[in-house]
């Protein structure tokens, strides 16, 4: 400790013998990093068989539903500094049918905390639909708790089933941009 004192005294002495232009170290308090982190999210490609089932021997249209954990936000630094989330979707529908898409953000208890899409119509024979959903955290503070994402997709007109021999597909790609 004595050594440290001697050394510090010498250094401080030199400091006061020299000059410096005015410096403001408190500027650092105003500085926060603002990265935008792009990440792939969910993608899928599904065919006609996924939307048909047989109930009591009768072909019936149905919807498909899938959920996954997505824990990139499950970090105290990100939660505290999150400013905005941008969800991007690219959808291709080769069927000559209209589909409805729900995309929900869920918390760790699988409670829905935000609906990105609710009954979003995917027109038939559409080779590319691009959709972007921007969530400003100040407006949707509960979104920081999202740790799961759920996709539900089904035919709009459930009275007519898809032809099981139809080779068409419906494809979806998605990504997330995390703005801190």
């Amino acid at each position: 400790m004595n050594l440290l004192k001697i050394y510090s005294t010498a250094i401080i002495t030199i400091f006061f013998l020299s000059c410096s232009q005015p410096l403001d170290f408190e500027q650092l308090e105003e500085y926060t990093i603002k990265p935008s982190i792009s990440s792939s999210l969910v993608f899928f490609s599904i065919d006609a068989s996924s939307f048909n089932t047989i109930i009591s021997g009768i072909p019936t249209s149905t919807e498909v539903n899938e959920t996954t954990d997505f824990k990139l936000l499950n970090n105290s630094f990100i939660k505290q500094n999150l400013v905005q989330l941008d969800f991007n979707f690219e959808i291709k529908n080769e069927f000559n049918r209209v589909f409805l898409l729900d995309v929900n953000l869920l918390d760790s208890e699988s409670n829905t905390i935000h609906k990105l899409f609710e009954g979003f119509e995917i027109s038939g024979n559409t080779l590319r639909i691009s959709e972007e959903v921007l969530l400003i955290i100040e407006d949707f503070p509960q979104v920081v708790n999202f740790t799961k994402i759920q996709f539900i997709i089904g035919l709009k007109d459930t009275t007519v089933t898809l032809d099981a021999s139809n080779l068409s597909k419906i494809e979806c790609k998605s990504s997330l941009v995390i703005h801190l």
């Binding site: 030199i14 500027q27 792009s38 969910v42 993608f43």
Partner: protein
């Protein structure tokens, strides 16, 4: 990021008060010059360094930016200033810290031709190259950098805290030639290092999904010794001090040096310092990350009840494992090379040396010195020209001009004075920046007290 900036700031701030040893090299016959060249000529009978005060030095420098570029009070915002610095630096820029404190030093004349010196000093030596890609990724993210490969190879740092016990001999083998050597035992209290890393992180447009992320050919090797014991960080500072006193990881090194008089006025000298290593065997924690991994997103298989997130974890750990081990390793000391040519001229005077022997000396000298130090990325060089003046045999001064990685106009000055048996020396460089030290990349300081006996 704030912490990183704060650490950088602290280091650059210290930079304003550090030293340049080129001024000390072969200056005024000081005992401390023997640590830069054990083959230099010593004229006294014995010396004792004032404990803890005989040699205090630190050299802290940065390339690429200075303190004032971030903290100057002007109309630019801190964000703009940090962005400007991040744009300005490249992966060859670095922060460097070297501090030595002599705990004790002494020496004595063994015979007319031989001088023996020994001592113990503690040293902190650190260098960290600025990983521009990683800093950019942390600061801005990957969104604006699609298809850019962020390099992991820029991550290079090395930090040593160690104690050095040394003993050396300087022997005049002829009227013209003096040779010297020094043996050192290193006791490392702390070593952190990573070098020779490789790998890239790239985000591009995917085929199956919007983006695809690649971690390619990653090979990171983060080594540490003296930091972690029994899976816990060593936080007791006394442990580090004890480990620097032969309680740590041990190593050995040697210094060589010579002085050769072509004529009574023309002299060559040179030295190789810290040619040695530390073998780390205690309190080691190494982490290796080797492999490649590609992530294109989570592919849904509807109504499957799969745990996709957990499924990602397995391949990640398999393809890009983080492996910890306690394997011993060897760390080389940063070897330094000194070379100098010195021409003495002016009034010829005599002074009493050991045992009242008279020795002639010239009151003026000029010359040039080359300094080089082995660093992880590449050798670093400094070229110094100097003028030395003896106002009397008790008062000498030296002025230097150094060209190095920090600047082309580093002016340094050193003064050595002797009152009775007490010698004081002080060295300061980058004098042109003293009026605004915050804009300096490298300013240095060294001073000490010795007792010299003829």
């Amino acid at each position: 990021m704030r912490i990183i900036v704060l650490i950088f700031t602290f280091l650059i701030g210290l930079n304003s008060f550090s030293q340049n040893k080129q001024v000390l090299y072969d200056f005024a016959g000081l005992p401390q010059t023997l640590l830069l060249n054990p083959g230099l000529e010593i004229d006294y009978k014995f010396h004792i360094g004032v404990p803890l005060l005989s040699g205090i030095s630190s050299e802290i420098g940065s390339t690429g930016f200075s303190l004032s570029e971030i903290f100057a009070v002007n109309n630019n915002t801190i964000k703009d200033k940090i962005s400007a610095v991040l744009n300005k630096i490249d992966a060859n820029d670095y922060l460097k810290v070297n501090t030595q404190i002599e705990v004790f030093s002494a020496g004595f004349r063994f015979d007319n031709k031989t001088y023996v010196s020994f001592g113990f000093y503690q040293e902190l030596d650190a260098i960290g190259y600025l990983p521009k890609d990683a800093l950019t990724l942390i600061n801005e993210g990957n969104t604006s950098y699609l298809n850019k490969s962020f390099s992991l190879s820029e991550m290079i740092y090395k930090l040593d805290v160690l104690g050095v016990i040394h003993a050396g001999i300087s022997r005049k083998v002829s009227d013209k030639l003096t040779l010297g050597g020094r043996f050192k035992v290193y006791s490392s209290a702390l070593n952190l290092e990573t070098t020779n890393n490789s790998g890239t992180f790239t985000t591009g447009l995917g085929n199956n999904n919007i983006y695809i992320h690649h971690l390619d050919n990653v090979n990171l090797n983060l080594r540490s010794s003296g930091l972690i014991s029994n899976n816990e960080y060593i936080s007791d500072s006394s442990t580090y001090i004890e480990n620097s006193l032969l309680g740590g990881n041990l190593g050995a090194g040697i210094d060589f040096g010579f002085t050769y008089h072509v004529t009574p006025q023309l002299q060559f000298s040179g030295s190789l310092i810290d040619f040695g290593f530390v073998h780390h065997t205690k309190n080691i924690q190494n982490n290796l990350i080797v492999g490649s991994y590609t992530f294109e997103g989570i592919e849904f298989e509807f109504d499957s009840n799969r745990n996709y997130w957990q499924e990602l974890d397995g391949p990640l750990k398999k393809q890009l494992p983080i492996v910890g081990n306690q394997d011993s390793y060897t760390s080389w000391r940063p070897a330094k090379l000194n070379a100098a040519i010195k021409y003495s001229f002016g009034e010829k005077r005599s002074k009493y040396c050991y045992d009242n022997i008279l020795k002639d000396f010239y009151t003026n000298a000029f010359g040039a010195q080359l300094y080089s130090v082995n660093r992880p990325l590449r050798q670093q060089f400094a070229l110094t020209s100097f003028y030395e003046k003896s106002f009397s045999n008790k008062l000498q001064a030296k002025i230097t001009h150094t060209v190095d990685g920090y600047s082309y106009y580093n002016i340094g000055v050193g003064v050595s004075a002797k009152i009775w048996k007490i010698n004081f020396y002080g060295i300061l460089d980058n004098l042109t920046k003293l009026s605004d030290i915050s804009s300096a990349n490298n300013v240095s300081l060294q001073f000490g007290f010795n007792l010299l006996f003829n």
